[in-house]
């Protein structure tokens, strides 16, 4: 028998079995959805994520059991952001839209001009120390208003920490929802923005038009 002649060689499975059966990608969708549900039920869904389309491009939304932990612009590289979440929060990361339904709806309303503030639980664990203090202050800047980095520094009780306010805004893990786009330079210029200046301009325009 030909198969026994050279026992050290690999058996030619493909000659008899053909290639490994093809699996259409959509075939796994319901299995994946069930897995995400079961994971949430068993407390194993440490980070749930989904993407949404928006006027400032595709946004990645990620939430822990405590709340929204990350909003990321496409320019940050969604895959890179997910990798960092796996390292910093937990590798138990799954695409699981259900946990993000509320924030997705609120973002839709915001971009449609029907919402002025967000009402979802936030998990600020990616931000620590002074940066976190700044993030706590930012939602106090009302929709359609702006503050300067200097004003924010004073508001959080560290009037000389203007640059630190700048880096707190630049590393805001929850852009749009925590409105760092409402912070400008004292001369009225935009300063920087994680999602690019076009995105910052678009958000400010949206809020001044509404």
């Amino acid at each position: 028998m030909t198969t026994n002649r050279s026992d050290a060689d690999e058996i030619d499975f493909a000659a008899v079995l053909g290639p490994a059966p093809a699996m259409a990608p959509h075939l796994l969708d319901p299995l994946h959805a069930n897995l995400a549900e079961a994971a949430a039920r068993e407390g194993l869904l440490d980070v749930a994520y989904r993407t949404v389309d928006s006027p400032v491009g595709s946004l990645l939304l990620a939430a822990t059991e405590r709340g929204l932990v990350r909003v990321a612009f496409a320019s940050e590289g969604h895959d890179a952001v997910l990798q960092r979440l796996a390292e910093r929060v937990s590798p138990r990361v799954l695409e699981a839209p259900a946990r993000l339904d509320d924030v997705a709806r609120e973002l839709d309303e915001y971009f449609a001009g029907r919402r002025r503030s967000f009402d979802v639980a936030l998990d600020l664990s990616l931000s620590t120390g002074f940066r976190r203090i700044v993030l706590h202050h930012l939602p106090e800047i009302q929709f359609g208003r702006t503050e300067t980095y200097t004003q924010v520094a004073s508001a959080v009780g560290s009037p000389r920490a203007v640059r630190a306010v700048g880096s707190a805004c630049a590393t805001n893990p929850l852009p749009v929802v925590v409105p760092c786009h409402r912070v400008l330079r004292s001369d009225g210029s935009l300063g920087g923005y994680l999602g690019g200046l076009d995105a910052k301009r678009a958000l400010l325009a949206l809020e001044s038009a509404a």
Binding site: I11, F13, V16, L17, L35, L44, Q83, A86
Partner: protein, 163 residues
């Protein structure tokens, strides 16, 4: 340096392989359950998995454990006479285009079937296959070889025109 990927990538990269292995071992009707149980168990254990581990081999091992649970449970409730319908149901399997071949694989003795699934579909070396099915690597290879020989005999029309 190895860093652990988000589990989502593990599911996307290895989900199809796990489903193929599960189908070959327990058949289409139970394969979805085996897939789900395997990935849930993998998700649970994932943070403790060594960063440089072979993820696919690890998943095939977990799939094997879940599949064996199903085979045992089936044996407990099945009346021996009733083993036949599997072949009929796999004909309606929407994914597998080589239904005929895999239906014949399901009729092989369990050890041969498992060895072919873990070696050919799961990509495990025979030494690791042997750890799962028992016996030595040489015996595992022989079981695969015997299984393939049987399939060759049962599928005479296929062997001539495999290309």
């Amino acid at each position: 340096m190895n860093v652990k990927q988000p589990f989502e990538r593990v599911v996307t990269q290895h989900g199809p392989t796990v489903l193929r292995v599960a189908r070959a071992v327990v058949g289409s009707s139970d394969a979805d359950d085996v897939w789900s149980e395997a990935f849930l168990a993998a998700l649970r254990a994932y943070p403790e998995l060594a960063d440089d581990a072979n993820v696919e081999a690890w998943l095939v091992t977990i799939t094997h454990r879940k599949a064996i649970d199903h085979l045992r449970a089936r044996r407990r409730r099945a009346v021996p006479v009733d083993e036949v319908p599997e072949r009929a149901s796999s004909a309606h399997d929407p994914a597998g285009r080589d239904d005929d071949v895999w239906a014949h694989v399901k009729d092989l003795p369990e050890k041969q079937r498992l060895v072919i699934a873990y070696r050919y579909l799961g990509g495990l070396p025979y030494a690791q296959v042997a750890e799962l099915v028992g016996g030595t690597a040489v015996a595992a290879r022989r079981a695969a070889s015997d299984g393939i020989a049987t399939l060759r005999d049962r599928l005479p029309e296929k062997t001539g025109e495999t290309a």
